[in-house]
């Protein structure tokens, strides 16, 4: 049996097969243990140079990638858009090609433009990992959510997961939908019509407009962050109103037929999309999600470093 491979880049879960997603999850399962060792470091990526190219603010994801890289013994450099030549108007491809000229092996990129990771991956030789591209995908977040659900329920097949809140602006929602569907889970999205795109049903998910319905139906809730920074105008009347109608509160959960597992990709707006006593409650797996994030990213880095020998350099200047 030859194991599945990932290819050159990890841009999203939409383009992966179920076997490739399972390979990532099973590999991550092994990497969990590495972070529990007295010396949390293995030499698997010794000599590899990785650039973390973050064009958007990030704490959790960037640090998680950096820990993952360091625990695999890779050498890492962090580039943020402010304070780099990006702020002087250099294009994404020029920035990446200049980095490649310094002989790097991988780029982890977060960018505000949907499709930017794939765009870059098609133009540089290095492996590219998408750490969030606009409203498109955030594959390692999707994977860590899958891993956390699998830890909790033993399997994903037949599991009912409701993704609640600001679906329109959420790359986390899209990566979750594709990953969960491929592994046989049932998915619903729930939020105000202004924050749930009309076409989302085409992805094979149920659309619910009442949070009470989602809570009554689901085994697990993935509560999305209300992305206030991406909202230009008029999506919701007020934060208080949003919490009153769509907030995941202890009172609402108490009426559910069973205990729901609660996830949130962070950072949380406490008291808006999720109440503090739910976020800190006994059924919350929000911190295990963060722990699993490092393992999932180690798996992605390790598997991609295997490379894809048939890949041809496409947009090179030489």
């Amino acid at each position: 049996m030859s194991p599945a491979t990932l290819g050159k880049d990890l841009v999203g879960l939409e383009t992966l097969s179920a076997a490739q997603i399972l390979l990532l999850l099973d590999t991550a399962e092994r990497f969990k243990e590495v972070s529990e060792r007295p010396i949390k470091k293995v030499p698997a990526l010794r000599g590899k140079t990785i650039v973390n190219l973050f064009f958007e603010a990030s704490t959790r994801t960037r640090i998680s990638f950096e820990f993952a890289e360091k625990r695999l013994s890779a050498d890492t450099v962090n580039v943020a858009s402010s304070g780099s030549s990006v702020s002087k108007g250099e294009t994404l491809v020029d920035t990446a090609r200049n980095l490649e000229a310094m002989r790097i092996d991988m780029v982890v990129i977060r960018h505000h433009a949907s499709g930017s990771a794939e765009f870059l991956g098609n133009r540089i030789r290095s492996n590219v990992i998408n750490a969030g591209d606009g409203k498109h995908e955030h594959p390692t977040q999707g994977l860590l959510d899958l891993l956390t659900l699998r830890d909790r329920f033993g399997k994903l097949e037949g599991l009912k997961v409701a993704i609640c809140g600001d679906v329109t602006h959420s790359r986390v929602a899209r990566s979750n939908i594709w990953g969960l569907k491929k592994l046989g889970a049932e998915v619903a999205v729930c939020g105000p019509p202004s924050l749930v795109p009309r076409e989302i049903g085409q992805l094979g998910v149920e659309v619910m407009t009442r949070i009470e319905d989602a809570i009554a139906w689901a085994d697990a809730l993935n509560v999305l962050r209300l992305q206030l920074e991406r909202m230009t105008a008029g999506f919701i009347p007020s934060l208080r109103e949003y919490n009153r109608v769509f907030g995941v509160t202890r009172e609402r959960l108490a009426r559910a037929p069973k205990d729901l597992v609660i996830m949130h990709p962070g950072p949380m707006n406490r008291g808006v999309e999720i109440d503090s006593d739910v976020a800190d409650g006994e059924h919350s797996v929000i911190l295990p999600q963060v722990t699993n994030g490092v393992a999932v990213r180690m798996a992605a880095l390790y598997l991609l470093a295997g490379g894809s020998p048939d890949w041809q350099h496409q947009g090179g200047s030489e």
Partner: protein, 180 residues
């Protein structure tokens, strides 16, 4: 067609393991502070069997762990697709213990080199011993076993297959000789 022969059948394996268990206790001067570490995959089963045999002889169980050396391989950059990683579980402290590494076949020595490096990241054993069911020669590193089931010189293109009940349904050590 390669020719296939049986180096050890199930009874011969049982006899070899019983002798190896006695040798192990003798070389460690008892069972105090001795732990077994099986190398994934088939070293794990062999380590568990040795632990049971030692318990039968000495009346005391030996702690048994699992080690996967994939992430410490020296050819990781060269192999294409990433190898599947097995479980590592060392449920004990290694400091000042006698660690007995157990593997099925000793060949180039590269696996054991990786295992020694990995163990060093878990602690500082007082002493490390190497116990293998088959030593097939062909070393590429200065590594030698302390306890051996059977020695058999082989050519590079030959294959030595260790089969264990737990994974393969039967116990056997088979040698597939390449033609020519």
């Amino acid at each position: 067609m390669p020719s296939r022969s049986t180096l050890l059948d199930d009874r011969a394996i049982a006899r070899a393991l019983t002798r190896m268990a006695s040798e192990l206790v003798e070389r460690c001067h008892g069972t105090a502070d001795v732990v077994l570490v099986g190398i994934q995959r088939r070293g794990v089963e062999l380590a568990q069997r040795l632990a049971r045999l030692v318990e039968a002889q000495e009346g005391k169980p030996l702690p048994c762990g699992k080690l996967d050396i994939t992430l410490y391989r020296d050819d990781l950059q060269a192999v294409g697709a990433r190898p599947v990683i097995g479980e590592t579980d060392l449920p004990f402290d290694l400091d000042d213990r006698t660690v007995v590494i157990v593997d099925d076949v000793l060949y180039t020595g590269r696996t054991i080199r990786a295992a020694l490096d990995e163990l060093a990241d878990f602690g500082r054993p007082r002493r490390i011993l190497l116990c293998v069911l088959v030593d097939r020669g062909g070393r590429e590193l200065p590594i030698q076993p302390d306890i051996v089931g059977v020695r058999q010189e082989t050519a590079g293109r030959d294959r030595v297959d260790v089969l264990v009940r737990e994974l393969d349904g039967r116990d056997a050590v088979e040698l597939a000789r390449a033609e020519g």
